[in-house]
């Protein structure tokens, strides 16, 4: 453990990380945000899910420093009288959970398909890649919107909202697998003809073992790079779906549904219900994107040019 840590501290990755202030700042902000969302039940001043403590009379209280602000509600309250700061923390928790879950799902799906497609080649390869092309040409957001709309009509709104978190993970994960599949396939094609693969094949290892134990570890650096950007994309997609009313319900809001619920009240001057969750969402996505940019520059994998 200690040796691994020392090796990491001497590595090029850590060296260039230390030298890049943008990367350091965005990493710290990201860690702070993720930490806050993980610890939301402990650090948030109120519990937005506890209906006993919510009073509708507290609805639309402006932030503390404005006229009519209340000391116990730092950023004010939303339309249902929930403390906005606590609701945002809980909402970010859901957004982060769905973002990571969806990326995990698409990574598993995409890596599997990419490995098979690249290693086996031939008919299967062209069929799978054509599927990926077609799905990508439809834009992932469109696929996600249509699939979630169909699910909502099929299950009914009530049942859909009960299962919203796993469903959103599946929908967003399903919509974006081609990104991974193409990236992995491209690097598998590069690795396949190298000598260590030939050696493994001559040693009589099975195709599955070669794919997973030999080729996969060598394709991981582009996967790491697109993973960061994909988390940002997944968080954005979730926010977009929730904003359209196809994602998290208002009773268990993510950042997107909070923005949606505040939007109607922007005309009456209650800007904070939309503004603060919006800022948080942009900050979250921005730091992930900046980290992704930095990681791409450092690892510099031959990314599939799409």
């Amino acid at each position: 453990m200690k040796r691994a840590l020392r090796r990491f501290r001497a590595s090029y990755l850590f060296f260039s990380f230390k030298r890049d202030p943008v990367a350091v700042v965005s990493f710290s902000i990201l860690m702070a945000l993720v930490g806050c969302s993980l610890l939301a039940p402990l650090i948030s001043p109120h519990d937005p899910y506890d209906t006993a403590t919510i009073d509708i009379m507290n609805a639309e209280i402006p932030p503390m420093w404005m006229d009519g602000g209340d000391k116990s509600f730092f950023l004010g309250t939303d339309i249902q009288g929930r403390d906005l700061l606590s609701t945002m923390l809980y909402g970010m928790r859901i957004s982060v959970l769905i973002g990571i879950g969806a990326v995990f799902m698409q990574a598993v799906l995409g890596i599997l398909i990419g490995l098979i497609s690249g290693y086996v080649g031939g008919r299967i390869d062209s069929l799978l890649m054509r599927m990926a092309d077609v799905q990508l040409s439809f834009s992932t957001l469109m696929v996600a919107i249509i699939v979630s709309a169909v699910f909502q009509v099929a299950f009914g709104v009530g049942k859909y909202e009960d299962m919203a978190v796993p469903l959103l993970i599946v929908i967003i994960g399903f919509a974006e697998w081609p990104q991974y599949a193409r990236t992995v396939r491209a690097s598998v094609l590069g690795e396949k003809s190298k000598e260590y693969v030939e050696a493994a094949r001559v040693s009589g290892f099975s195709a599955i073992r070669i794919m997973i134990r030999h080729i996969l570890p060598n394709t991981l650096s582009p996967v790491l790079v697109i993973s960061t950007v994909q988390v940002a994309n997944a968080v954005m997609s979730e926010a977009a779906l929730s904003f359209l009313g196809l994602g998290m319900p208002v009773t268990k809001p993510s950042l997107g549904s909070l923005i949606n619920s505040g939007f109607e009240y922007i005309f009456s001057g209650s800007w904070w219900i939309t503004f603060f969750p919006g800022i948080l969402l942009v900050l979250l996505v921005l730091v992930i994107n900046l980290l992704g940019d930095w990681l791409r520059d450092v690892l510099n994998p031959k990314l599939y040019k799409g």
Partner: protein, 324 residues
């Protein structure tokens, strides 16, 4: 070349059939057309008779064949809510969406080309760095948030521009256009900016990187050696060759913009296809939902195929290997 076009067209027809199949499965699985047509006050026998009459008791594949045949003739079924052919409903809403997409493509073209060229020829200039910095922020702001922000600043606070609807429109042969009235044009400004906001940074970056690549090539060096004027080299020699990849990517991105129109139209209550789609979801209007899906699917496939063929015409290298 002919073989390439035939191959692409056959491929796209296959994709369209798959889309139609998925759409048909959705329609077949959810929603009961009989109940939607007659309501609940009709006896079981009459329902059964109606089912037989509508052909709902036929085998799955026969029904799918009928669906395909009707779809090819432009009949995508009846919208349960509007009690009108779904295609008619969609086509009535299409002009609003198309005008919105046109306006924001115009914004993108006007702003991204000069910005991209400038960033490519003066990469160290403070303005280029500023643009590159803001473009990553721009990519991180969701469309609906930009739209809300625009509404808050320009409609609620400053009260300069209208926040919803299309304003006054003129009917030209069934096409409701907002281009011909001042009111209609004013209503287009905010949604147009909002929709272009997500694509603009992307295009600036794309034009910049392609142009920088072109500027490194030998024929540009030769042009410099000949002593041509810088403006001529940048615009006539370099930019022309930058356009090729930009047009391809641009064509595909225009299709992707359709997805973002759903978000923009929701915020601005723009009476277009995206707004209609969300209303159809709320009303569980499965028929209209499937029709929208098939319609958009066909639109995507047509745009992609046309872009591919144009690219193939211009760049012979891709005809055999396929577009990368």
């Amino acid at each position: 070349m002919f073989a390439f076009i035939v191959k692409r067209v056959v491929q796209s027809i296959f994709v369209m059939i798959v889309i139609a199949f998925i759409g048909f499965c959705i329609k077949h699985q959810i929603g009961d057309p009989v109940r939607d047509i007659v309501g609940i006050s009709v006896s079981a026998e009459e329902r059964e008779a109606l089912r037989e009459e509508l052909g709902l008791n036929d085998p799955f594949m026969i029904q799918f064949g009928r669906f395909l045949k009707n779809a090819a003739q432009g009949d995508l079924g009846l919208s349960y809510f509007f009690k009108k052919p779904a295609l008619e409903v969609i086509l009535a809403k299409a002009p609003a969406t198309i005008e919105l997409v046109l306006v924001s493509s115009l914004f993108i073209i006007i702003f991204s080309i000069p910005a991209g060229i400038f960033a490519a020829i003066r990469p160290r200039h403070w303005f280029s760095r500023f643009m590159m910095g803001t473009s990553i922020v721009g990519v991180s702001i969701p469309v609906f948030l930009t739209a809300i922000l625009l509404i808050f600043v320009f409609s609620v606070e400053l009260n300069w521009l209208p926040s919803y609807g299309r304003g006054e429109t003129v009917n030209i042969g069934g096409w409701q256009t907002g281009f011909l009235t001042i009111d209609g044009l004013i209503h287009l400004i905010l949604p147009g900016i909002a929709l272009s906001s997500i694509m603009l940074p992307l295009f600036i970056r794309l034009i910049r990187s392609e142009m920088m690549e072109v500027l490194e090539t030998d024929y540009i060096k030769y042009a410099w050696a000949k002593g041509l004027k810088p403006g001529r080299i940048w615009l006539l020699h370099a930019f022309k060759n930058t356009l090729l990849p930009v047009i391809t990517v641009g064509g595909v991105q225009l299709g992707i913009m359709i997805a973002y129109t759903i978000l923009t139209e929701t915020v601005f209550q723009w009476q277009g296809m995206g707004f209609m789609f969300l209303e159809a979801v709320e009303r569980s209007d499965t028929s209209l939902l499937v029709a929208y899906m098939v319609f958009v699917g066909v639109l995507f496939v047509v745009v992609n195929t046309v872009v591919d063929i144009i690219y193939g015409l211009v760049n012979p290298m891709v005809r055999i290997t396929g577009r990368k």
